[in-house]
C-alpha cells in the first residue's frame, strides 16, 4: 500500500510540474561564450565580455547566457562546447583562434547548434567565422608611433606567427613609415596569447634594444606597464588601457564585439540564423583607436583622423601598393591592392621590420 501511495504522489507531482512546464512562456534563447582567459579589467577576453554585457542588457530575459572561462585551446575545449550544446545552448561563441579544430569537431556532433568561431579560417555549415580587421587601427597607431618615436625604433611583442599577427606587425610598421621612413620595428615572439611575465620580459628586451614605442599582439597590459616603468611609450591592445598607465599610453587599439553579438542574437530570436562570415573593420565599427593621449600634437591627431576617415570611406586600403617586403621585393605593385584572401595569408614582413619571421 505504501509503495502505491508513494507512486501516486510522485505521479501527481510530475503532473503538476509537467503541466506547469507546458504552460510556461517561450523559453529564453540559450547562448554561451567560451573564454580563453578571464575578463579581468583589460584585454582580449575583457573586450569579448564587454560585448556579452551589451547583449545581456539589450535582450534581458529573452536570452540566457553562459560563460566558461579559462578554457585551454586543447581537447578540453571540445568537451566544454559539447557540454554547453548538450545543455541546450543554441548558439556558442568560441573566442580564441586555437579552438578552431575543436569547434569544427563539436559542431559535427551537434548539427542543430550554431557555432561562431573568432579569428579562424575554417568554417562549416554550422560554424561561422567572425573577425576584426585589427590591422586598420594598428596602421593608425603606427602613424602616431612614427611621430612620437625619438629613437626611430619601434617594438612589437608578438604571440604566434600566424597571418593575423604578422599583418598587424606589418600594418603598424607601414603606418609609422608612412610618416617617418627611418622607422624600423623589432619583434619578439613569446609563443603565447596570454603570459604577463613573458610579455613583460619581451617588452623589456625591446626597450633594451632601443625601442621607444611598443605595441603588442598579446592579451594583457604587461607591455604597457613595462613601458611605463621604463619611461617609454606603448599602446593598449584589444581594449582601452589608458587608465593602466596614463602617461605611457599613446592610444588603444580596441575591439568592439557588442554590435556583432547583438546582430547574431537578434537574428536567432527572429528565427533566422545568422550565417555570414564577418570580417569587419573601422567602417563597420568592429574596432577603433581610442583614448588618444593629450600629449600627442593636434597636427598628428588630425592626420590620424583624416586617415581614419579614408579607411572608413574605403578610399584608403592598408595593404595597397606600392609595398615592398623586408627583402626589397615588390609585394604589391603601385595602384594594386591585396584581396581579403591575400591579407588572410600574409606570410612575410614588410620593409622596415627587423629580424626573421619564424617559419
Amino acid at each position: 500500500m505504501k509503495v502505491k501511495s508513494l507512486k501516486l504522489m510522485l505521479l501527481s507531482v510530475f503532473l503538476l510540474f509537467g503541466f506547469n512546464i507546458g504552460a510556461r512562456a517561450a523559453e529564453p534563447l540559450k547562448m554561451a561564450w567560451i573564454y580563453f582567459g578571464t575578463p579581468g579589467d583589460a584585454g582580449w577576453t575583457f573586450a569579448h565580455d564587454t560585448g556579452v554585457k551589451m547583449v545581456q542588457k539589450e535582450f534581458g530575459s529573452k536570452i540566457e547566457t553562459s560563460i566558461v572561462e579559462n578554457v585551454p585551446e586543447s581537447a578540453d575545449s571540445e568537451r566544454v562546447m559539447r557540454e554547453l550544446a548538450s545543455k541546450g545552448n543554441q548558439i556558442i561563441f568560441a573566442t580564441s583562434f586555437g579552438y578552431m579544430e575543436h569547434t569544427l569537431k563539436a559542431a559535427k556532433s551537434f548539427p542543430k547548434v550554431k557555432f561562431y568561431h573568432n579569428t579562424g579560417f575554417k568554417s562549416a555549415p554550422n560554424v561561422h567565422i567572425y573577425n576584426s580587421r585589427m590591422y586598420e587601427p594598428a596602421y593608425l597607431a603606427g602613424i602616431i608611433a612614427g611621430h612620437m618615436s625619438k629613437s626611430n625604433v619601434l617594438g612589437y611583442v608578438a604571440s604566434f606567427p600566424i597571418p593575423e599577427v604578422v599583418r598587424n606587425i606589418n600594418a603598424y610598421t607601414m603606418g609609422a613609415r608612412s610618416v617617418n621612413p627611418k622607422i624600423t620595428t623589432k619583434v619578439v615572439w613569446i609563443s603565447s596569447w596570454y603570459d604577463p611575465s613573458k610579455e613583460r620580459q619581451a617588452a623589456e628586451t625591446l626597450i633594451g634594444q632601443g625601442a621607444d614605442c611598443l605595441m603588442q599582439n598579446t592579451d594583457s597590459s604587461a607591455t604597457l606597464q613595462a613601458a611605463a616603468d621604463k619611461g617609454v611609450y606603448a599602446f593598449g591592445w584589444n581594449s582601452d588601457m589608458s587608465t593602466i598607465a596614463p602617461k605611457a599610453h599613446l592610444a588603444s587599439v580596441t575591439q568592439v564585439w557588442g554590435p556583432y553579438y547583438v546582430k547574431v542574437t537578434k537574428a536567432a530570436l527572429e528565427g533566422k540564423a545568422f550565417t555570414d562570415n564577418v570580417w569587419g573593420g573601422m567602417k563597420e565599427g568592429m574596432n577603433g583607436l581610442e583614448s588618444i593621449n593629450d600629449k600627442i600634437p593636434d597636427s598628428v591627431k588630425k592626420e590620424v583622423e583624416a586617415k581614419k576617415a579614408q579607411i572608413v570611406s574605403g578610399k584608403f586600403k592598408v595593404f595597397s601598393g606600392p609595398l615592398k617586403a623586408q627583402d626589397g621585393s615588390i609585394k604589391i605593385a603601385a595602384g594594386a591592392t591585396f584581396t581579403d584572401k591575400d591579407i588572410d595569408s600574409i606570410k612575410f614582413y614588410v620593409e622596415g621590420v627587423d629580424g626573421q619571421l619564424p617559419k
Binding site: 553562459s66 560563460i67 585551446e73 568537451r79 566544454v80 557540454e83 579544430e101 606567427p161 609563443s191
Partner: protein, 367 residues
C-alpha cells in the same frame, strides 16, 4: 595550555580506514554549503550541479570515462613505484614522449591507412614513455641521483621537445604557421564507440582507448598483489633493511618500477594524441601526469582505490565546468572547492596511520 601532536599508530586503524573518507565527505559538505551560501547560491542546487549534473547524461558519462582513463592509467603505474618509495614525479614528461612517439608514426604513415597503424602507435608510445623513464632510472640506479628531481626536470625537457617538433619539422604546412601537426587520419585514431556500431553511445566522444585502462587495472592488481616482483617492491618500501637482508636487488627494483610507470604514462600519451586531440600541438599540457600523483595517493596506492580516485578527480573537473555553465560561478570558486575536497580527503587519511594526542602544557613537560 594544551598542545596537540600527531603520533604514529603502531598499527593502521581499521576504524579510521572506514571513517576517514566519511569524515572528509562530511567536512566537504559543511565547508561547501557555507561556501556556496556565502556566494548566494542554494547549496543543494550547487552540489547537484557539481556532482550529479555532469553524470546526468550519456555525454557526461562518456567525458568522465575519457578524462578518468588516462589519470587511472598513469596513477596505476606511479603507485607501483610509490609503494617501493620510488618517487616518479615526471609521469607528465613520460606521457609527452609517449605522445611524441605515437605522433611520429601517425604523421609518417598518414598516407598509408592500415589496421596496424594504431597498434604500432600504442607500442611506440609505451616505448617512448619507458625510454624517458629509463633516463631517470639510470640516474637513480647508477649515479644515486634523486629520482624526484631528475624525473621532474625531465618533464620540462619533454615539454620543450614537443614544442621543438610542432614549431619545426612536424608543423602542418596548411595551418597558417600555427604550431600544430596535421590532424591524424582515422586509422591513427582510437575508434569511437559509435563507429563500432554501439549506437547507444551516439553523440559522444568515448573511444576504444578506455579498454587499455580496463586491461591495465587487473594486470597491475595482479602484479602488485600476486607476483613476486610486486612483493619485493612492497617489502622494499615498507622495510628497506629487510629487503636488503633478503637479497632483493635495489637497482633492479628501481628500473622495474620506473619502466612500468613510464610505460603506462606513455600509453596515456597515446590515448590523448590519438583520442580527443587527434593531433599534437604545443599547448598540450593537460597536467595528467601531476594530477595522477594525487590520484595515486587518494587511492591509497591500491588499484581499486585508484580506479575510484580517478573517477572522482574526473568528476571534479567536469563538475567545475558544470557550475560555471549552470550557476555562472567563476572558475576560481570551483578550484577552491576542488582544493578543499582534496585537502580533506588526504588530510583525513593521515588519521589512519596517525593519531592526535593531547600533550600537557610545555611547562608541565619542563618540570
Amino acid at each position: 595550555m594544551f598542545r596537540f601532536r600527531l603520533v604514529p599508530r603502531s598499527q593502521a586503524s581499521q576504524k579510521m580506514l572506514v571513517l576517514a573518507p566519511l569524515l572528509a565527505v562530511f567536512l566537504t559538505l559543511v565547508v561547501g554549503i557555507s561556501l556556496f551560501a556565502v556566494l548566494g547560491q542554494n547549496p543543494i542546487v550547487a552540489f547537484k550541479a557539481y556532482f550529479i549534473d555532469p553524470l546526468s547524461n550519456l555525454n557526461g558519462i562518456s567525458e568522465l570515462l575519457l578524462k578518468a582513463s588516462p589519470l587511472c592509467l598513469i596513477a596505476l603505474g606511479l603507485a607501483i613505484g610509490y609503494r617501493a618509495n620510488i618517487w616518479n614525479i615526471g609521469a607528465e614528461g613520460q606521457m609527452y614522449v609517449g605522445g611524441i612517439f605515437a605522433t611520429g608514426l601517425a604523421i609518417h604513415f598518414q598516407d598509408y591507412p592500415s589496421a596496424w597503424l594504431l597498434p604500432m602507435m600504442i607500442v611506440a608510445g609505451a616505448l617512448g614513455g619507458m625510454l624517458w623513464a629509463s633516463l631517470t632510472a639510470l640516474c637513480r640506479a647508477q649515479f644515486h641521483a634523486n629520482e624526484i628531481l631528475v624525473s621532474l626536470m625531465l618533464t620540462y625537457v619533454a615539454d620543450l621537445l614537443v614544442k621543438a617538433l610542432v614549431y619545426g619539422v612536424w608543423k602542418d604546412p596548411m595551418a597558417n604557421n600555427f604550431p600544430v601537426t596535421v590532424s591524424f587520419t582515422d586509422s591513427a585514431l582510437f575508434t569511437p564507440f559509435v563507429e563500432l556500431g554501439w549506437n547507444y553511445w551516439e553523440g559522444t566522444r568515448i573511444n576504444t582507448s578506455v579498454f587499455l585502462t580496463l586491461i591495465a587495472i587487473p594486470l597491475v592488481w595482479f602484479f602488485m598483489q600476486r607476483s613476486f616482483s610486486g612483493f619485493q617492491l612492497l617489502v622494499a618500501g615498507l622495510a628497506p633493511g629487510a629487503a636488503r637482508y633478503a637479497g632483493f636487488r635495489e637497482k633492479k627494483l628501481v628500473w622495474m618500477a620506473l619502466l612500468i610507470s613510464g610505460l603506462v604514462a606513455g600509453l596515456a600519451g597515446v590515448t590523448e594524441v590519438a583520442g580527443p586531440m587527434a593531433q599534437l600541438n604545443d599547448r598540450w599540457t593537460p597536467g595528467y601526469g601531476f594530477t595522477a600523483i594525487i590520484v595515486a595517493n587518494l587511492g591509497r596506492l591500491n588499484p581499486l582505490g585508484i580506479v575510484l580516485a580517478s573517477l572522482l578527480m574526473a568528476l571534479l573537473y567536469l563538475g567545475g565546468e558544470s557550475v560555471q555553465v549552470s550557476l555562472h560561478l567563476p572558475k576560481a570558486v570551483s578550484q577552491v572547492f576542488q582544493g578543499l575536497l582534496l585537502l580533506f580527503l588526504l588530510g583525513c587519511d593521515v588519521m589512519v596511520n596517525y593519531k592526535i594526542v593531547r600533550l600537557p602544557s610545555t611547562r608541565a613537560v619542563a618540570l
